[in-house]
């Protein structure tokens, strides 16, 4: 500790060099923390109930299945209930993409029975089930648009097959809450309305994008998935049934390969920053040849000189990591309010930098500084006094 002022004074000596190196480490840790927080949020998103399967068109989600499939799926042994669910892609105003939110047409009674994570007061649930024009919204959505029960809204679909002559109008029947402890990652910003209303409005031509299938025994996932798909193997519209986690992973951006990409990016950035920091520290130590000679002459052992150089690296890494972590937390809190990006972020469960990721981020920053300082520290350790004095 008594050498801490000595180390700090050297870091302060060249503010620009220290600041830019610290900023580089901060960027690295910021990237790590935000990417890993996103991955953690993704994992929450990818961990839904294990008793739910999703059946969709075998070729692509873009294509829809006949309504008649529902009864046949419901008859498969082990299936508890089935609910049609179509992503509607509705917007209040097509000219305001910033106001986008996710909305689904669902067979409400069965859907709400199998999705216990959407918690509705009983009166609101009854009102919703009783009114074909009714809809329920997440509390985060209600806060965002200052909606309350009883308000009416209109939505126009962005999916050509779902477009109607006029926007569909809805009455907000209820606002659902979520229990992020019991059901972590539950989306708080969805809107659900009745599939029947949607089907009739589109002239019964909409079809079904997904069937949500609840099964009695999660150990029967594979058997029941195959059984469902076998039903339609020889049909024009073949199906593909998978667990909800697999389904979410396969939709758009999700899945192990994307996570791998994110981690790969973080690793590449870390390595680059390591090289930059190591070069900066080597330059700093080279400039202090005379000083190292003096310290050794005064009686500072080679080991102590090595520790001092490493200490600079560690301190630099710690400062950079702290700055990066703070920046990451700030950005994650601010991102949902940023236009366009915020719309994507709000589709995921609420993000915050978990303590474990923060701790790992700090440890990485300190390690970066330590490793970057290692080579110049070893050079200083091995340098002979007479050689250093001669060079100085």
């Amino acid at each position: 500790m008594k050498f801490l002022p000595f180390i700090w004074k050297h870091l302060r000596k060249n503010w620009i060099r220290t600041g830019s190196t610290g900023a580089a480490i901060a960027v690295c840790i910021f990237l790590f923390c935000t990417l890993q927080t996103f991955v953690a949020s993704l994992n929450g998103f990818l961990s839904p109930g294990t008793t739910r399967l999703i059946t969709r068109h075998n070729v692509s989600l873009v294509f829809r299945m006949p309504n008649a499939y529902e009864a046949r799926i419901a008859a498969v042994p082990g299936v508890k209930r089935v609910a049609a669910a179509n992503w509607f892609g509705g917007m209040r105003d097509l000219s305001k993409p910033a106001d986008v939110f996710t909305n689904f047409a669902i067979e409400a009674e069965n859907f709400l029975a199998m999705y216990a994570e959407f918690i509705l007061p009983e009166p609101e649930k009854k009102a919703f089930l009783a009114d074909q024009r009714g809809c329920i919204i997440g509390h985060a959505l209600a806060e965002r648009f200052h909606w309350k029960v009883g308000d009416t809204i209109e939505l126009e679909s962005t999916v050509p097959a779902y477009r109607t002559a006029r926007p569909l109008d809805f009455l907000i029947s209820g606002i659902y809450q979520t229990d992020q402890v019991r059901y972590p990652g539950t989306n708080e910003s969805l809107l659900f309305f009745h599939y029947k209303y949607f089907d009739e409005a589109t002239g019964k031509k909409a079809g079904v994008a997904t069937y949500r299938v609840e099964i009695a025994d999660p150990r029967q996932t594979g058997v029941i998935s195959h059984a469902i798909d076998n039903l339609f193997e020889n049909s024009d519209t073949q199906t593909h049934t998978e667990t909800e986690a697999q389904y979410r992973a396969s939709v758009g951006v999700l899945g192990g390969s994307f996570v791998l990409l994110l981690n790969g990016i973080a690793l590449a950035v870390m390595f680059t920053i390591l090289l930059v920091t190591a070069n900066t520290m080597s330059m700093a130590v080279r400039e202090r040849r005379a000083e190292i000679a003096v310290l050794k002459t005064l009686g500072f052992s080679s080991r102590l000189v090595l520790s001092l150089v490493l200490g600079e690296g560690v301190l630099l890494g710690a400062f950079g990591a702290t700055a990066g972590l703070l920046l990451g937390r700030f950005l994650i809190n601010v991102l949902p309010d940023v236009p366009v990006i915020g719309d994507v972020i709000r589709g995921f469960p609420k993000m915050d930098v978990p303590p474990a990721i923060a701790a790992v981020g700090l440890a990485i920053g300190v390690s970066l500084g330590l490793v970057a300082g290692l080579f110049p520290a070893i050079l200083a350790y091995r340098a002979r006094i007479t050689e250093l004095l001669r060079q100085a």
Binding site: K2, F3, K9, A290, E291, T297, L298, G299, S301, L304
Partner: protein
């Protein structure tokens, strides 16, 4: 010779160099920098090592200070045979026994004068308050208490050298070694520095070995030793 030998035998020697040789290897060539050097410096003595450039005087000073090792022979300083010490032990020994004064002062630029003087004391077990007090005492001896909080860039050359001398004496070493201490100073500052070294020798009984090529500086010493091509000539 017998009389001189007898004198050396009865006087405490701070420095005793016996049969020292220092050889450097450059590719296949052997370069002899010091050849069979014998030097005895009694306690409280002030010795000037003189000689032309390349004569080996700085090399000899480095051996005495323990920052280099001879190729053969023995160097005993303050009762310790330096060859018996490992590198780590030698560093510790230097911190307690040797005060080094460089030609170009070599103060640490990011530290104030007081912090520079305090630097050797960081290696001792004494606490922060006591370190600061001793640093101020050393600065008082060299007459620079009012410059304690100044950085080296705010000091003149002569003042920097005095701070360097304060740093060299703060740990109360057995021996001061000075390598061309006036080499980078103007005449007035050089005189002040030499006055200070004489005071340290006379009033504080510090043993001083000084390398210089300046006859005026050498004249301040009790005795002068001449080196020529790595060989110590007769005492003057």
């Amino acid at each position: 010779m017998p009389a001189i030998t007898a004198n050396i035998a009865t006087t405490t020697l701070t420095v005793n160099v016996q049969g020292v040789r220092k050889v450097y290897q450059r590719d296949s060539q052997e370069i002899v920098v010091l050849d069979r050097i014998n030097l005895a410096v009694p306690e409280g003595d002030f010795v000037a090592l003189m000689g032309p450039s390349g004569s080996g005087k700085t090399t000899l000073l480095n051996l005495i200070a323990g920052i280099d090792r001879p190729s053969s022979g023995r160097v005993t300083v303050a009762g310790t045979d330096l060859a018996t010490l490992s590198e780590g032990a030698l560093a510790g020994w230097r911190s307690r026994n040797v005060g080094f004064i460089f030609q170009f002062y070599n103060l640490i630029p990011v530290l104030t004068a007081a912090e520079n003087v305090e630097l050797p004391l960081l290696l001792s077990p004494i606490g922060g308050k006591q370190r600061r007090e001793r640093a101020l005492t050393a600065l008082r001896i060299v007459g620079l208490t009012d410059r304690a909080s100044h950085y080296p860039r705010q000091l003149s050359g002569g003042q920097e050298q005095r701070v360097a001398i304060a740093r060299a004496i703060v740990a109360d070493p057995k021996i001061l070694v000075a390598d061309e201490p006036t080499g980078d100073l103007d005449a007035r500052s050089a005189e002040d520095t030499l006055d200070l070294l004489q005071t340290l020798n006379h009033d504080f009984r510090k043993t001083i070995v000084m390398v210089t090529h300046d006859p005026r500086a050498a004249s301040r010493a009790h005795s002068q030793k001449h080196l020529e091509k790595g060989v110590l000539l007769d005492e003057v």
